[in-house]
């Protein structure tokens, strides 16, 4: 009993105004204090594991030395005025020095300890949170957030950009943590606050969590079969290889899809495509590319068989499609827009943005299938339509501005989603010359051109960057290749051809560019260019605050 009494008194030391208000509410707390002022008294009788508090207004409540465990003779099933009154009265009677109602004086008696937050093991998070929550938070951790930590009776972590506040109790129990989002159960803010708090204290759980939530099971039989097929191709040699091998690759690719082997699926199709070119005696066929691929896939499968570490397996397995996650905040600097059309019957406009914080290019794409009859999509109407994220501006305005997005949804390829939750605020646009463009700015063109080579059948990651130039040397239309070539001069004096292939739809634009002498007068312009093969396609020109998307603004 002596133990319980000392535990109880330690707990009472914690029960200051802030603590009680957090668990109950201000109204209840004030009413309890008023009752005491009016003269309600309490007598306490200590039992083995609780204390019986008899109030002079005839109600009786039991306290167990824990804010979540109590009972009261009144009908309320939640924390009531009587319970608060019993706590406050005990604290004022027995610890007058603690100065109830004044949070600042209380540590003399009791200093809460939040060490448990740092002692938690990643496996504890797996129990408390779902894999989806963990995945989302791990994605968010890649983005900065202004963190504020305050220690009072609680340890309160505030995510300032998201305006979310999570308070952790000194009791080592995650379910007792309270979040300002008021969601039931363990919300993702709790996990985000916890992980960010631990990161501040140099505890990085990311790798361990990533490994734990990754599904690395796969169909070993398919992997073995694929390896055997590759060995067969290499064993027989291209000269005597039957064409039916292509069908076997396709069938295995389907099996790989069902066997949770996305990277293998893609590679098998790639090899099939490459072999197809070989059988057609196509000029695009390259022994180098095929060999490189065969070696990479074969040795990758061998490595997969041997590897134990889940994160390595995950890397070898690849992933099907990336999910969209919410990131707290992005400041985006528009870089221009590019209309496109695919052979498979899609039309769309892709908008490019530079993110000032993480120095990467984000894209937003609006696309429509046009293979159905009656579907009309024109670049101009799409360009003039309202932008997502609140519809404050048109896409055209958006593509010339600088904006701040809160709760933006993006995936691992930095593609933005048109989510309704995202809020947009237009900011004053800065000069392109004053931005720290990081890797987005091209410093060595030869190096940039090499990237992404040899990925004929893979879904090529779109490669876009900013090219700073001194002047425009020449503009001419090459009839033989049907393309407009704009030759620009880089700062090191090198002349670089930028190519716009002719498209009927942009006939006017191309003529305008060809005949406009003012283009030759441009100095110190940044070009947003896209690399395709060994050619550079210009998307837009930027200088100071201004921007011109070649195919949409001219």
């Amino acid at each position: 009993m002596a133990d319980f009494k000392s535990d109880f008194q330690r707990w009472i030391g914690l029960c200051n105004e802030e603590y009680l208000i957090k668990y109950a509410n201000k109204g209840l707390y004030n009413r309890a204090c008023k009752e005491i002022e009016k003269g309600v008294t309490v007598s306490y009788e200590f039992m083995d594991d609780h204390v019986r508090c008899a109030l002079s207004d005839d109600s009786v409540c039991l306290l167990y030395g824990d804010i979540e465990r109590f009972s009261c003779s009144c009908p309320s099933d939640k924390i009531c005025k009587h319970v608060i009154l019993a706590i406050v009265a005990y604290a004022t009677q027995h610890q007058p020095a603690a100065g109830m109602g004044d949070a600042g004086d209380e540590p003399a008696v009791f200093k809460p300890d939040f060490g448990w937050l740092l002692q938690l093991h990643p496996s504890d998070f797996l129990q408390a949170f779902t894999a989806a929550q963990i995945e989302e938070v791990l994605f968010r951790l890649e983005y900065g957030e202004a963190l504020e930590v305050a220690e009072t009776s609680f340890l309160t972590v505030t995510l300032q950009l998201q305006q979310v506040e999570v308070s952790f109790d000194q009791e080592a129990d995650l379910s007792r943590a309270m979040c300002s989002c008021k969601a039931k159960g363990n919300c993702i803010h709790k996990l985000e606050c916890l992980l960010r708090y631990r990161l501040v204290h140099e505890i990085d759980d990311r790798e361990a969590l990533q490994a734990d939530i990754t599904d690395v099971s796969y169909d070993a039989e398919v992997a073995a079969e694929a390896r055997a097929l590759l060995a067969e191709v290499l064993g027989i040699g291209l000269a005597k290889l039957p064409e039916t091998v292509c069908t076997r690759f396709e069938l295995l690719a389907i099996a790989a899809h069902n066997g949770n082997l996305p990277a293998l699926e893609k590679d098998l199709r790639g090899i099939k495509g490459e072999l197809g070119l070989f059988f057609q005696r196509h000029v695009k066929f390259s022994q180098d590319v095929l060999l490189d691929r065969l070696a990479r896939v074969y040795l990758g499968l061998a490595a997969l068989e041997k590897s134990e570490r889940p994160e390595l397996k995950k890397q070898l397995l690849g992933s099907f499609k990336s999910k969209y996650h919410t990131v707290p905040h992005l400041t985006l600097y528009a870089l221009g827009a590019n209309p496109w059309e695919t052979r498979s019957g899609y039309k769309g406009v892709t908008y490019y943005f530079f993110s000032l914080a993480d120095k990467r290019i984000y894209t937003y794409t609006e696309a429509r299938p046009v293979f159905y009859e009656g579907t009309s999509f024109t670049y101009a109407t799409s360009y003039k339509s309202k932008a997502p994220w609140g519809g404050l501006v048109t896409m055209e305005e958006l593509s010339h501005s600088q904006v701040s997005l809160t709760s933006a949804k993006t995936n691992r390829e930095q593609r933005l989603s048109s989510s309704d939750e995202t809020k947009l605020v237009v900011l004053p646009r800065e000069n392109i010359e004053e931005l720290d463009l990081g890797e987005t700015l091209c410093r060595d063109l030869a190096e940039r051109m090499g990237e992404g080579a040899g990925v004929l059948f893979e879904q090529a990651t779109e490669h876009v960057f900013l090219l700073p130039t001194k002047s425009v040397l020449q503009v001419f239309y090459e009839a033989a290749t049907q393309q407009l070539i704009i030759t620009v001069e880089a700062h090191d004096g090198e002349s670089i051809p930028l190519v716009i292939p002719y498209q009927g739809e942009f006939d006017k634009t191309i003529r305008y560019l060809e005949n406009n002498k003012r283009l030759l007068e441009l100095r110190d312009v940044y070009w947003l260019v896209q690399v395709r093969g060994d050619e550079l396609y210009p998307i837009s020109m930027l200088q100071g605050k201004s921007l011109t998307s070649l195919k949409l603004d001219l």
């Binding site: 064993g235 000269a239 022994q287 060999l291 065969l294 070696a295 990479r296 074969y298």
Partner: protein, 98 residues
């Protein structure tokens, strides 16, 4: 520099020839070619490559004695060499980025 370039071409030639004719057709002439390539690699101080070639030749010899048991090892070692040769073609910055 030109000598190394010529050596690289010889390596590539052999690797591509094998792709066309098939590893299962590995023969004593290939062993002789590999011995020459290994010697050149040592001459240019490319010891790691020389080691790869030596191990490939070893697997080749093994394969010629016992075709069933040796083909897997031969394939694997051939592909290690393929990767090395491919790496030589790429500029250094890109090889690291890959």
């Amino acid at each position: 520099m030109e000598e190394i370039f010529a050596f690289r071409e010889k390596l590539e030639d052999w690797v591509e020839r094998m792709l066309l004719k098939g590893i299962r057709k590995f023969e004593s002439a290939d062993l002789a070619t590999l011995a020459r390539l290994e010697a050149s690699a040592r001459e240019y101080g490319m010891d790691f490559l020389a080691e790869l070639i030596a191990r490939l030749a070893e697997a080749g010899g093994h394969y010629m004695r016992d075709a069933k048991a040796g083909v897997e090892l031969l394939t694997e070692r051939y592909l290690y060499m393929v990767q090395y040769v491919n790496m030589m073609k790429k500029p250094l910055s890109q090889a690291v980025a890959d």
